[in-house]
């Protein structure tokens, strides 16, 4: 599971960075989405990976998984969702006003 998780994070980040460097608005937005996924997985993994363990305290279990990273991921997802909306709108506006989807200023 560790290998799968780290490979997923690595591949998502690498693809995201590649897309970001294309410097066209649509690939840049997709790149952000991928990087965000990678970051979310990473936060999740920092609570240590575990299978079949609840994140809440119950009388009949004594093995728990750390609940805090899951709460952090939730916040991170909400914020990155809002951010994606903002950059989509701005990219569209920029395309409409300048007739090009290049991100660079010249």
């Amino acid at each position: 599971m560790e290998l799968l998780m780290s490979a997923t994070i690595g591949i998502l980040t690498a693809s995201g960075v590649y897309l970001l460097l294309r410097a066209r608005t649509f690939p840049v937005i997709l790149g952000f989405a991928l990087i965000t996924y990678a970051v979310n997985f990473f936060i999740f993994a920092m609570g240590r990976l575990a299978v079949n363990q609840p994140p809440i305290i119950r009388a009949d279990v004594n093995q728990y998984v750390d609940p805090l990273p899951q709460a952090l991921v939730l916040t991170a997802i909400v914020i990155s969702f809002g951010m994606t909306a903002v950059i989509v709108v701005m990219a569209l506006r920029s395309y409409i006003e300048t007739d090009t989807d290049h991100v660079d200023l010249k």
Partner: protein
Amino acid sequence: MNYWLIFPILIPCLTAVLIILGMYRDHLVARTFSMIGVVLNFIVSVSLLQMALHGDILTYNLGDWLPPFGITFVLDRLSALMLVLTSVLAFFILLYSLGGLDRQGRHFHSLIQFQIMGLNGAFLTGDLFNLFVFFEVLLIASYALMVHGGGATRIKAGVQYVAVNLVGSALFLIAAALIYGVAGTLNMADLAVKVAALPASEQALLHTGALLLLVVFAIKAALVPFQFWLPGTYGNTAAPVAALFAILTKVGAYSIIRVYTLIFGESTAWIAAPWLLPAGLVTLVVGTLGILAAKNLGQLISFAVIGSMGTLMIPISLFTTHALAAALYYLLHSTVAAAALFLLVDLIRQRRKDHSDNLTAGASFAQRGLIASLFFLGAIAMTGMPPLSGFIGKLMILNSSREENTFLIWGIILSMSLLSIIGFAKGGSTLFWKTTPANEKAQPVSTSVIPFISVTGLLLFSLMLVLFAEPILVYATHTAQQLLSPTEYIQSVFSLNKEAP
């Protein structure tokens, strides 16, 4: 528990929501409420400064969840100082915007309030993840403010600004997750305790997290090699918005001071210091060369801001009482000086229709003498000439760096000051002196005195920094002492807990 701590966040938040809900159609009401919000924020900030004046560290736990589990707000001398600086700057910029900028888009007033809320929150929070959240609050407001007024170039520059900051946010999350993964907490005071007690086997990951966090703050503070976004953003946005953004780079500086004295200070052998000094020196050089090469005044001031961030980072990297005190004084000075200059850029842009703020010789314009005099004062402050506050700030920075690398630091700061004087003199003389007689048919400009009150107010603040240099320096020195002995901070945060962690 001190309930006053939540007010600097609540007041702008409620004002913004009220304005969105029903007032944005009526400019007069929106302006009135926005102004009331900013003035209330100023009053609360000053009274918080009063409370922090004698060295008490106050805390507020949201929902009464005790640290390290709840969200904690902490007020110490540094936070109080930053709150007052924010509220003063916000007041003058809001005042300036009443000259017409706020009518260029519907939600200017609520956005500026959300911006203040994010700034105040970032200065008050005692939790690393919450710092991220408030960074996002102030960034989202700044994205919208950045494109306020519209225009093709501005929106394009806005996309770049959003893109750079999204990368920054992703890095912040990775860094915070790494630190959490090692230390198991994100409360700053708790982190300070846990980090000091970590075994050697965990140090590698911890250091990675700490330095990744430094990259994030360096992006915010526009330090080389992450300075490239700043001229495009500040130069292309509406100049008064750029004036407000003068405090955004200081959020980066504040975070560096806070995190690398409290959490990654003595216990990790001042991990940021070896990176900050070269970054500061190179940033200063890059900023100054930019001043010489700038093609328009907006760009020139943007590069001056980069240069001032470099100057600011040099004393921070020394992590001594004197150097930190000098840094805090310079931080106050450079924020207001940059803001005043950006407001002047806007006045010049309004008056030179065909040349805008390009550094090219053009026709004379209305109130040229007055604007030139104000620019002269602003440039004196920014480049660090006597008698304004830049001089005292730089003098203190030079004085505090007499122990190590003296020749390097003094040489670069002094030679770059000379170059920036040349840059400002060149820009100013082209704009104000190489003018042809005014065009008879020149478009009439607004003769409102409000913009001039605002600029003069900011410059007077710079003068106040000189007149009251001693009490301010005493306060800054006490602040630096408080920062360098984090035990007090940690004890205050956990003062309500029955047993120490």
